[in-house]
Amino acid sequence: MDKICGTGAIERVSMRHKRTIRNRLFYAAIIYLAILGAAAVAAPLISPYNPTDQHLNDRLKPPSGHYLLGTDDFGRDILSRLIFGSRSALLVGIVSVSIAGAIGVTVGLIAALSGGIIDNILMLLMDSILSFPTVLLAITVVSFLGYGLLQVMLAIGVIFSPVFARLVRAETLAIKTEGFVEASRALGSSTLKIVFLHIIPNLIGKVIVQGSITFAISISIEASLSFLGLGTQPPTPSWGLMLKDARNYLVQAPWMALYPGIALALTVLSFNIIGDTLSEKINPRLQQ
């Protein structure tokens, strides 16, 4: 009896320990993203140089007091490009997730509420989008729409809308049969009222979780597309584009790849940590 109690205590302690680590990571991620966001907003104020200014006599300079993170093959300041690059990264995340969310939530709600053939058709459409490899589909869409940041955001938004649609549809179907919804309907509330008063408030948590994970994926897809030359157009700074330029100088100037790589990895990681932590907090079954 004693023994069993003991292990239980240890388990509880390690559980709590785990949770504190998670919490710390969560706050670290939030702080990192807050700094990133502030940097993006205040980019022109805090950048030491204009990110597109070419200092052709200072090409491929290693990090120094003059150029804190070194320069690239055009002699552009890497720190300044990194700071301005955070703008396209965050912009892509925000716009793509908004597009995906808007399409996904609408489609999911319509499908769940109307049911029948409309539901089938809509979900078939969404599933067919899901059945393509993401990056490949993004490349195809961008090739049709033309290269550029706007096109990339549109493509990512459309591609990720099915994820939201499925989530919202499943949730709505579940909520629809809940007692309080039935009660509201019995009291004569219109469908629209039920949607806005009961269903959407109950969805929001999960959509936010999904949103933060999609945010991370969008940023890495934008980087991939820019790396391939399809995304952000030069000379606008973008992390993916910086990595692309760095590819030719991996041996001569490793700092060109190192810093945008770190920034990209940290940003994606932060959004993933936030997404995971939030989903744990929202879902009581995971929270012991």
């Binding site: 070419q54 052709l56 090409r59 055009f74 290269y147 030359g229 030069p234 030719n248 001569q252």
Partner: protein, 507 residues
Amino acid sequence: MKKRGGKILFLLLIALLLTPGQLIAKGQREKRVLNVSISGNPDTLDPQKTSGTLTFQVDKSIFDTLVEPDQNGKIVPALAKSWSVSPDSLTWTFKLRRGVIFHNGDKLTSTDVKATFERILDKKTASPKAKEFAAIEKILTPDDYTVIFKLKQKSAPFLASLASGWGAILPKRLIENGHDFASKPVGTGPYSLEEWVRDSKIVLKKNPNYWMKGHPIIQTVVINIIPERSVVIQGMLAGQLDIAFRINREDIPTLEKDSNIKIEKNLSALILVMAINCSRPPLNDLRVRQAINYAIDKQKVLDIAYGGGKVIGTFMDYSNPYYKDFTNLYPYNPEKARELLKEAGVTKDRVFQLVLPQNYAPHVKAGEMYQEMLSKVGMNVKIKLVDWPTWISEVYRQSKFDLTVIGHTGKLDPDGTLGGYGGGRYVKWKNKECLDLINKARVTMGFKARKALYDRALEIMAKDVPFMYLGTPYVYNALKRDVIGFRVTPKLDTLDFRWTKFVGQAQ
């Protein structure tokens, strides 16, 4: 017992490892295969059915032409041992070399030459290069070793066309049989095609009957098709490649660390430009075009984007005999550029679209530098990246651009380079005098007389600047230190292995 057996086996193994090594050493050099890399798979090996550079790079070893350019670009005898031109320049007589044998055993005679050019002119062949021989009226073969071309009109570029890859001579018997030259080319060249594994390699075997005594030297040449740059570099470092054809300057430091590798640097035949669409205001204003020329630090762009080269001031490659120096017309002078733009009334409101072909990294890089330099003098330039087919159709064919960055390949004859400019080729630049000069030079014979005409035409182009002329870049090949005598045909950029050998190899 078991133990001893193992020992014996071990000794045997060592012996086995040692002996063949020593045996090979003697015959090794004679039998050693030459491994070369090229950047892509040729679409066909039929020299009459393509304009693709890759095809001619390979076909140079399989076929011969009547005449050919030497290392200085001068046209010298090849299958024809001599030639003469009638005073009216309409009759060209070629005397063929005797004893030349095709890879299939057929003897080369004048009828093969006649059949070859009849095939390229035949509408059914649909050769993209047929127009280069359009001046031919008829071909006469008075005897087995004499070919006479009768021309409809004078054509100064005729000899250069005969010397180009598309002037390759094919055997008549196979032409008549409808032979598949695209995948089984048969010529008189120094090497015959042994095997072509698509997208992987082309194996060439020495032609023992080649007409040039003592050449080629190397028995087997393997042309490896490697599009990915890093794979070429790794292959070079690992010793799998003997020659890497056309490497990037960025890779030179990596390769130079290996003491077994040497880098050969040559001036290419490219004319690098930023083309200006002269039909779109305000680019139709000479002052704006001059400003663009003043605004660019040419040597810097050449060095950083193209790996070094020679600055040019007109539309002709630097090493061309017809090249004339106009580089002092518009030297780098951003102040002057700013003034000219102000005078012409160009403001930031006018957005200039700089279209860049996305698949050519050096052009994109140059474009980024141009954009920065132009914005420094007050032009608002936006970059638009397009893929290659889009560039060809929208920029080159339909002139939908303000500015674009490209390199024009030099031609054996200046008419190939200049033909049509002044009459509204893709830069939409109209200049009657220049067009007339170029047309006149096409039917004028003799280097001096033609040079006088081209000098004037190039001067007009240099002054009126329908382009920002950048320069002619260097090209770099990486070779193993013991490989000597590898030649690249000037202007045509084809690979010539006839003199190539390993150090110490007997001829």
